[in-house]
Symmetry: C2
Subunit: 272 residues, 2 copies
């Protein structure tokens, strides 16, 4: 049986999706067709959403599951007339929060991913540009401004992790690729040596590394299992020698790598 999951929001839809994905990941056996309807900010748009839900209900022959973060009371009432099973964030939590905090919810729409203040916006943009300017060892002279310098072999996930740390947490993160040259004499590159306390290492399973590299340069020495295995071993030896905290990224998502780095280093995020 096909099922449709709707994520309905007066803002970006990100909260409704995050909430919904987390809950649905607990029911892994069911496949959902996922539909996000963001910026539902009028009676009219809410009725359109209800129509889409009702159409899915009759096409699927099963109730859609509807995750909603609508805060407007009228819109919520309209939404609850649909033929889906509505799981509504504010119905569940608004009362206990108002009770606990002693003030009423303000019912302003589109608050959760709105620009908070220009200061936070700038931190974020600057962090992204820092990550780009200091990607892949391109420049090393700004390492004194870095919160963190991520190291690892080519294609072990350094760049996406740095960008995620910048976008999500406002951290200034550089990354530097360790190569054969560095492994030969088991020493830290000159650019890294003065910043040893900022280093964090990624490791990766050699077979997986070989598969990722093969996608990029099939049949190359660079992608060969032998080369990957050599690099991964030497990398581990380097981490051990210089006591560099590190993490095996093989089975982890970018979110998991990033949040584990925060937890392991105790780095304070610059954005909440």
């Amino acid at each position: 049986m096909k099922r449709t999951a709707f994520f309905i929001s007066d803002g970006t839809g990100i909260t409704a999706e995050t909430l919904g994905h987390t809950l649905l990941s607990q029911f892994g056996s069911i496949e959902f067709n996922q539909v996000t309807i963001p910026y539902v900010q009028s009676d009219e748009l809410t009725r359109e959403a209800v129509n889409r839900i009702d159409r899915a209900a009759s096409e699927d022959g099963a109730k859609p599951v509807v995750f909603s973060t609508l805060v407007n009371d009228t819109h919520r009432q309209i939404l609850h007339t649909c033929k889906g099973r509505v799981l509504d964030l504010f119905t569940a939590y608004q009362k206990p929060l108002e009770e606990e905090l002693g003030v009423p919810a303000n019912h302003k729409v589109g608050q959760s991913h709105a620009i908070r203040d220009q200061q936070a916006y700038r931190i974020r943009i600057n962090a992204v540009h820092f990550a780009l300017d200091n990607d892949d060892g391109a420049r090393t002279r700004h390492y004194d401004q870095a919160d963190l310098i991520l190291v690892g072999v080519s294609r072990s996930g350094k760049t996406p992790t740095c960008l995620y740390l910048a976008l999500q947490f406002g951290l200034f993160t550089a990354n530097y690729p360790l190569t054969e040259d560095d492994f030969d004499d088991l020493r830290l590159p000159d650019a890294l040596a003065p910043h040893r306390h900022k280093l964090f290492g990624l490791t990766i399973n050699a077979d997986r590394l070989s598969a990722i590299r093969s996608e990029r340069k099939a049949g190359s020495r660079y992608a060969s299992p032998r080369q990957c295995d050599m690099e991964v071993r030497a990398l581990q030896a380097l981490y051990n020698k210089f006591n560099i905290p590190h993490l095996d990224a093989t089975e982890l998502s970018i979110e998991e790598i990033s949040t584990r780095i925060l937890a392991m280093t105790g780095l304070q995020r610059r954005l909440q």
Copy 2:
């Protein structure tokens, strides 16, 4: 009165934070000290979290608000012994979902931001590298592979938006800076002309642009209100002439810009 908000999770903590931020944004008058405790995957770690919550309760002289996405029943029971007000995602929604879907929740921890499959991981990484390789007009020969080409003046938010679209939705997005040369004769740059249907424009308020540019190059012509005003007007004329869909990014967060672009273009995300 100081209040502490805790985000407790057996995984990254991202869902608990997203949920919590959305709910707390409805109570804008109260300042919260925010603490995320991720990877709470044992009785022991749960008890440690309870201790931290209880300490905050006595230090603040007010009940902390605790947003939890713990799925393990024992851990949830332990958490509920704390001196905070616990808002627990699974207590609120698990029953109605099990009822609706007709299967029990699997209670597996750390599911929501785990790597789903290697295919999705690769799409994401490739999208990030595409955004980097095609940032700021650096290369234009891969535009046939782009899902979207973001245009706008320098420092209007193109790069962070492309990276967000890559990380969050797996979209292949290039960006190209429009400059005075393009405005002089009001024509599209040669690199863009064949891809007109893929263009999306950002606009920005001239004063805000000037402020952002001043941070980078204070006192320069580039940052002057006059220059910014000229560029912003010419940009608008170009969008009008070529019918390029566009969006005023001045008051929007990266998340809002990105999700509005999806909504306006009808682009299908490559990642859920």
